[in-house]
Amino acid sequence: MHSNSTIDEELGTREGHHVSHVQESLVKHSIWGTSIRFTLVTSVLLGLVYPLLMTGLAKVLFPHQANGSLITLKDGTVIGSELIAQSFTTDRYFHPRPSNAGSGYDATASGGTNLAQSNAKLPPRMQADIDKLAAENPGRPVPIDMVTYSASGLDPDITPDNAYFQAPRIAKARGLTEGAVRSLIDAHIQGRTLGLLGEPRVNVLDLNLALDDAAK
């Protein structure tokens, strides 16, 4: 072990140190300068040029999506975004999943409940909601997404089971047959992407607009 090679290495290291001391004084001098210049140059490139370029490209190529996938009436009123859940409470409309975004469906304060499974507030809350819904549709188990708060509080979708569960209430409120409502649901189910990715789902705002259209 302690042969020439070790001595060579030590010499090599010492020489290395000597050279690097001279280099270091030069380099340290320029590190701050280069750091500041590199920060400024790249922040203009990455922080302004890149996002503004992307904004321009996005608005030309995909204007609808770039502006937030908004749904606008003929008179120009924006009724919402197809990607963002909004509140529906009457019997005439499908209801989205419960929301903890702000005071509910607040699209400037997204978020979930962050309740742990072991939090004593969670099971009674879910049970109360289940019992309320069970009265609406006796004898049928309540789909779990109806009584769990989404992660964003703005989940625009419900499961097909959830929509089917609500069908009798909507049929009654609108004087439609349950079969008519169910076939409307079926027409609005988005399957898995490529039959594979994600989960089947129904967009609530889409479906409610279709309900109103069907009534016209």
């Binding site: 270091e24 280069t34 409309y93 019992d131 499961t159």
Partner: protein, 574 residues
């Protein structure tokens, strides 16, 4: 669990593994200064940047100079972000007239984004102006990612080179990583996201009159989201434009966007394993490291998926098992389009890497499902890992594994022709010890002081998990959270330091190791050399990662998620 869920995982695996080689080759070209197919377009920009910044591109640095440059640059960028946050009220692109960010939160956030953590103690859509998001925060998604990659490459150079005093030029490595890898990828990526529905505008928040009750107004947060989302995922940053992060339909609107997001978390980290093999001339070694990472990834996913698909039996009258038209399982804090499988997959990947983006709320995961993200970060995020950070983290484990193998056969350990000596093992152990030291110290302090306990969202063992997760996530530069944890001055400041120490005090030993390995001579392999390109080595590496992690953190885990699981099984809630 379902066949479809496993199929989604299988397809993800196939696509990821198929990209390892091409991505690894491209990264090698970029970082070895070789010609790439983007040269005709980008080479002039590269030269302009060197000129503007006074970079002498042909001048190499020793490890100390490299480390100083990395620290100086990080300090400058952190300062810039702090300044923008404090001044945002007076700066343009603030359509909502958001006020200046407070000093402690501004410090925490600047530290958070500089360190590739992206821990967020704030609701972005109500706190940060568009300019702050673009120039103060999204820029770090590029910078900190590139800094991680270049440190990993410096370490690989250290392994590869013999009798060399230098390990590369920091500025050249940064410039080339930004220009040739991150920027072009993000331009394409951001457009894909916009196509799927991610907004990209500078408009005021939209005022909508809802369908049921037009008098009821819904204000919809907007902004330059896609341009931030792309580097956020690709650079394993994870800082959301919105509070709900990738669970927000504007950040991750479809199953397809979800898939490209999780793919982009791993793609660079996985490619770097091939870069390691190619640059060191031992492709088998690169694949052995890749295999070890993949095994840990698959195991984590299996546990998390199982746990989330099997919630505790706390309610009656609800359909919690899977049907063809509903995912069942634990859907609290999850989105319908992601369901159980994609949420578990996202949670596993985002913490295997140091990404920290979430598409579901980890705080509401089952105890064991939520323990997987926590444990993944505790293992050092070496499963493909944060861009670069995962690679140099895993190389530290490789040095420890080689050292242990050397002890077992009674020979001086060697790694790819380099003798692993006392200095190298000291640096590796320094790296491995700083991490638990800061986490456990901070967590111990914060469970003892009222300021630490007062902001937990959940009582009982889960409250402890929230505190533990925050310091683990900070030191690991992950940024995901058991997000029920609130904030105060104490957390802002402590987490800020937790993140800074977890980043820079760990990068320095990695660079010191690089410098020391680079100046060594190469020794030819002997019959006593433990080969590092075999399945046996991959198994040993997995063992070392798990044993080091378990010995360090098992006591803490048993007080948190494990205790919570056992009590929940008996029906005990808090």
């Amino acid at each position: 669990m379902s066949a479809n869920g496993w199929l989604q995982f299988a397809i993800y695996s196939v696509i990821l593994l198929a990209t390892v080689r091409p991505v690894g080759i491209y990264l090698t070209h970029v970082l070895e200064g070789e010609r790439t197919w983007l040269d005709p377009v980008l080479r002039p920009f590269e030269r302009i940047i060197y000129k503007l910044c006074g970079v002498k591109a042909d001048k190499e640095m020793n490890w100390r100079e490299y480390a100083f440059a990395m620290l100086g640059f990080s300090a400058a960028t952190m300062l810039l972000t702090y300044a923008i946050e404090r001044l945002q009220y007076y700066l343009p692109w603030n359509p909502q007239h958001l006020a200046a960010v407070g000093t402690d939160l501004a410090f925490n956030t600047a530290a958070s984004f500089t360190t590739n953590t992206n821990w967020q103690f704030y609701t972005p859509e109500a706190t940060m102006s568009y300019l702050t998001e673009m120039a103060g925060l999204a820029t770090h998604n590029f910078w900190s990612a590139a800094a991680g990659i270049v440190v990993a490459v410096a370490l690989i150079r250290g392994i590869k080179r013999t009798s060399s005093a230098t390990i590369g030029n920091f500025w050249v490595d940064m410039t080339r990583t930004l220009l040739y890898v991150l920027m072009p990828a993000c331009i394409v990526y951001a457009l894909l996201l916009v196509w799927q529905g991610v907004p990209q505008n500078l408009s005021n928040y939209t005022v909508a009159h809802t369908l049921e009750q037009p008098s009821q107004v819904q204000t919809i947060g907007q902004g330059p989201v896609a341009s931030q989302e792309a580097p956020k995922m690709l650079g394993t940053n994870g800082g959301g434009f919105f509070n709900a992060n990738s669970a927000h339909p504007y950040e991750n609107p479809t199953p397809f966007s979800n898939y490209i997001e999780i793919f982009s978390i791993f793609v660079i980290g996985a490619g770097l394993t091939y870069t390691l093999g190619r640059m060191t001339g031992s492709r088998g070694h690169g694949w052995a490291v890749c295999a070890a990472m993949y095994v840990l990834f698959a195991a984590g996913f299996a546990v998390c998926y199982w746990a989330e698909a099997h919630p505790y039996n706390m309610i009656h009258g609800a359909q919690q098992t899977r049907t063809a038209t509903a995912p069942g399982g634990n859907m609290e804090g999850k989105e319908v389009r992601n369901g159980i499988a994609e949420s578990a997959l996202f949670a596993t990947i985002t913490t295997d890497a140091s990404c920290g983006a979430v598409n579901g709320m980890h705080d509401s995961f089952t105890p064991l499902g939520g323990m997987i993200p926590l444990a993944n970060i505790m293992l050092g995020e070496v499963v493909f890992g944060g861009v670069g950070a995962g690679m140099y983290g895993m190389l530290i484990y490789v040095v420890i594994a080689v050292f242990i193998a050397g002890l077992m056969v009674g020979r001086t350990p060697e790694y790819l022709g380099k003798k692993i000596e006392s200095y190298d093992v000291k640096m590796a152990m320094l790296y491995a010890l700083i991490f638990p030291l800061i986490i456990l110290t901070f967590a111990a302090i914060f469970v003892l002081i009222p300021q630490g306990l007062s902001v937990t969202n959940n009582p009982g063992p889960h409250g402890f998990s929230e505190i533990l997760y925050s310091f683990v996530s900070g030191a690991g530069n992950n940024g995901s959270a058991f997000a029920g944890l609130g904030t105060n001055w104490w957390y802002n400041v402590a987490m800020g330091w937790d993140m800074l120490i977890g980043r820079f005090l760990m990068m320095i030993p990695a660079l010191a190791l690089a410098g020391n390995l680079a100046q060594k001579k190469s020794v030819p392999p002997s019959p006593g050399t433990f080969p590092v390109n075999t399945p046996l080595f991959a198994v040993l590496l997995v063992g070392v990662v798990l044993i080091v992690g378990a010995l360090t953190f098992f006591p803490a885990l048993s007080l948190g998620p494990i205790l919570e699981h056992l009590l929940l099984q008996t029906g005990k809630v808090f």
